[in-house]
Symmetry: D2
Subunit: 343 residues, 4 copies
């Protein structure tokens, strides 16, 4: 059991308090630090098998679409994902997407012919304050490594796609948390992984678990700018959900963002993607009908509570696991410096 740095809400966490508490989910990070580069790639895999051949039910919600993420259109149409979800920086989306497609072509001889093409999911935030984003430093090998090393370790903070992110004027990045939900006497898990880059260069609005710590931090910090930047939220669960219910669940991530002090700024790409591992869909299945076990909507409030709690805690974790970072255009402190004030 991982010790919690900060405790948000009422529901129990899973063992790791991490998205990998959802059975089968794997996460891999490739961190790239070099000269003026502070960036990376993070891969989230719904399961360890071939995802193109065993799709999972998925949904997305865009709280603010000032962003360049790709793959959402097909998620909305078909309600499934068929690749790992990759997180990276804004200007690297094309490169990372191209790399993911090439890797999947290698792995799937029938991709592009009898099994159709593939819909890569690449979600992004702008790490341009700490990273020279114009260099597009990420390579095919970086993407491949992030996928190859995916595991269930509880890594968070200034890692992978989170390496150069800034949240509420402090160091942000990768954060995660999970919640357990009991349904019909059985315990299920909902996990969240975020890449936080919102509230950008200002700390003044930051609220941590109800404590308006931001104004105090701001006094000791640089001047603020308006709310911009982005946040990516990935939600995983082993609870059976159709993609409509799943969209309702992921939509609530916005409430957690608001609780940390943001009003979801104009310049922010606030993009949420969720998937359920309960009813996978085989690409080669021939029968006309699928049997699916889906949650009754009467019980969905439990998931709403779980996703709001886990997203809020994941945001704080992204900041509390991150380290003070000097990068391309700025030097950014960590929330850990104020840990005593928020506990």
């Amino acid at each position: 059991m991982t010790e919690r740095i900060i405790k948000v809400g009422e529901l129990n966490t899973g063992k790791l308090n991490h998205i990998c508490d959802v059975e089968g989910v794997l996460v891999g990070h490739k961190t790239i630090i070099d000269d003026d580069i502070r960036t990376g790639v993070t891969a989230i895999l719904p399961h360890k098998n071939n995802i193109f051949l065993n799709k999972v039910i998925a949904s997305s919600f865009v709280m603010n679409g000032f962003g360049k993420s790709i793959g959402l259109m097909q998620i909305d149409e078909l309600g499934t994902i068929e690749t790992p979800i990759l997180l990276t920086n804004t200007l690297a989306v094309g490169k990372v997407s191209d790399s993911l497609v090439k890797i999947l072509i290698e792995e799937n001889p029938k991709l592009g012919t009898s099994l159709g093409t593939v819909n890569p999911i690449v979600l992004e935030c702008n790490d341009g304050r700490l990273n020279n984003i114009r260099k597009i430093a990420i390579t095919f090998d970086d993407v491949k490594e992030a996928l190859d090393i995916a595991n269930t370790n509880n890594f968070q903070g200034s890692i992978g796609a989170g390496t150069g992110m800034v949240c509420h004027g402090l160091k942000g990045g990768i954060g995660s948390s999970s919640r357990e939900v009991e349904l019909d006497g059985k315990v299920y898990t909902l996990g969240v992984l975020v890449n936080t880059n919102f509230g950008h260069s200002s700390s003044k609005d930051l609220i941590v678990n109800g404590k308006p710590i931001g104004k105090q931090i701001q006094k000791e910090q640089a001047n603020g700018e308006e709310d911009k930047g982005s946040i990516i939220v990935v939600v995983a669960t082993n609870i059976g959900l159709d993609n409509n219910s799943l969209r309702r669940v992921v939509k609530r991530a916005s409430i957690a963002i608001g609780k940390t002090g943001s009003y979801v700024g104009h310049g922010s790409g606030d993009v949420f993607v969720g998937f359920s591992t309960a009813n996978s869909i085989s690409a080669t299945e021939k029968s006309a009908f699928l049997n699916q076990t889906v949650l009754s909507q009467k019980y969905i409030n439990l998931l709403f509570q779980a996703v709001v709690e886990a997203t809020e805690e994941a945001i704080y974790n992204s900041m509390l696991y991150s380290i003070e970072t000097k990068g391309y255009l700025a030097s950014v402190k960590t929330l850990k410096n104020w840990i005593k004030d928020i506990r």
Copy 2:
């Protein structure tokens, strides 16, 4: 087996070539003709039991939202309907909705208390050319009668909510058609019921089953106005579908409308609602999970074809079953006069 007036497409129709070919579906019409009044109510019931207690999976699509229909918001959120679907004229939506709610309150003692409120579905077209719509002539008793007499008879044309409708400058109204679809060796049915009021006062664009008959009709008719009016399309099927797949199916109704010569005019409320009777949802069910049988998306093209064919044929049926009508502001001919030219 009903004889088909016109044969659209390739798939077989059901026995009645009517929405009631979908087992359990009932339709009731109340026609109101009096002085300057030509209007009515049409009720479509997904099944004969209490729908509030046994909801069905549903979806909607709005091709053009210049309309006053009610109930779509909750369909989109929950993916279910819990009342009959009522069709009527534009300014009567409030009255018909109020009447439906009162009827449901009588029938359901726990409605409004332990079982929550109810979401009435009332869809409309503007019959103001043949009907003095400002009078709001429809009463509580009219609504109740439409519901009470619902049956599986194949009534079409100038009846119920279709009484005062005008389509492509000719008499429109209620039309219906159905298609059979074979899946895993079993025959299923998809039925469509339309209330046609689009292309309003002009016939020039009318195409019937590929024949651009409109220009010829226009020569013998009054001058045309621009494309306005509305069309309501209700789709029923006994094929198991989640509400996302169902939305994809009903969205294709727009293609059928285009095939009849319309470009979906600005002034038109083109609203489509579909439901599947396969997986009903009990309002009093306690278990957290539902088992649902849903169509694999690989087979959905069959339903796309079925809905386009049935909607197009239902539109022609609405015009071919209608009778020449002299009403409030105009006198409108029937397409039957040109039946020899389109066969």
Copy 3:
């Protein structure tokens, strides 16, 4: 200048700290209290002239669509409203809509003929705990009175449509607040009016201006239920906005709701409608082009901040202006009892 009971955020309020600070906006309330009835109607008028003839630019956002509000489809399609916005209880939507249509028919001789039909906007919450909602107690005269007496008085709390509402287990209802925004050296106003009925019978999650007062209140109160109920948010501004920008603004109301402790429950109809009085659209205008002054999106963060602050404060005002109420199924306390704990 109205004294503020509670001060949320940083921006200045308008003179009244009320939606009527937006020039031209009027509000009328009809309160109905009788035996087991605790309900009413609230009317918001964008301006004092004929709205059907002088439409205003509008937009909506549905945070959770478990609700029965009507009129949103056409707002989304055309980006305008053409009637006052009426608030009432859930089962009265049909009756109130029917009444509004009849009033507009009387006022507009060409409505339904040469000027087309009208799209009534009626938004609702379920007041069934304090009101015998099954009785549908609201009459045509009640609706007419709410419209006729509309004014700029700063009335809030247990009034009009708010009479029977319950928020976070305490008395809710009508609340309002406003913010001033400076753009290009000129001061503009954004006002919010809410009808609060969410968090229903539980207070435990309530947060007031950052203070988690709910747990303390809950100890002295009845046991909680899960998050249900609804909230209607109406946003008015004299800032020129196209309907896309306006949708982005009203969407942020969800952040304010989250700040008060809700995760936007399954059973809630959380519906937001906004309008701008800056560029009105004449129903009889003949020219093909309109000249509009619209806000550059670069400045929209100011409006995001304004709408989040004003909505949050309006929610608290709805509770702080309300009075302890004994109604149909329950007796509900007022937040005023805890006023000393939240200041």
Copy 4:
């Protein structure tokens, strides 16, 4: 004046009957033919100046989202585009996007720093029958060339992104058409460019300008498969439109697709993007308000008619300008062989 191969509808075309009739619009094609490669890139530029610095108002509509296009999310949020629109094959989207971003980084020193990042628009169809799509044959230089050579020449058919496309079982690809619209006594233009790849390997459903020629073609052709493939529709106009009205216009492209015999198949990515050159938005503008001239919605039917006519004609042009092609997995005939049957 270009001679029209086929004449659809009633409105006049512009001089070229091509999207470049809209003043300022440029199109560039890079065709790649080599061994098993039949693919390419097509670039549409809203104007000849720096688009990142002078954004244009834009909108999108997804008729069927089984596709991998990128850039739509930000179009929907902000209502603008800030790059040329690139068309290519499905698996090359990442590579083409990456190339476009790199070109824009070179051209804009402040991109990624003080002027933020950029949202590339890359739309795709699957040319995998004629092209070995797994090879991702498109290079940075190919993308750059398509942009650099952009001009107003009326090139259509098997060119650029259209090189390997198949439509209704015949050779498809790039097609274009335009319409003139008179408003307040002045003539405006709406132009359409399509890349057609739908109805894939079957001709049986093909209708050309009302003639159901498909069945006849099918007899002389290979057997059909179900409706799959994709179509990209790009709409340009010099009429002032807000992005909501623009969305309504581009949405009508689906009607034109239906008229050619498709029911918009499951496997199709049917994606429409439109832009208006009338009100450009400077990236460096400081004032808070923009003055915009936008079309009154009362006149929008003219644009609906124009976009349906031009899209339908552009689809036929894509097939009639294309040449018989032997490619990777198939050999595909051209509709020109049946030109006498459709005139």
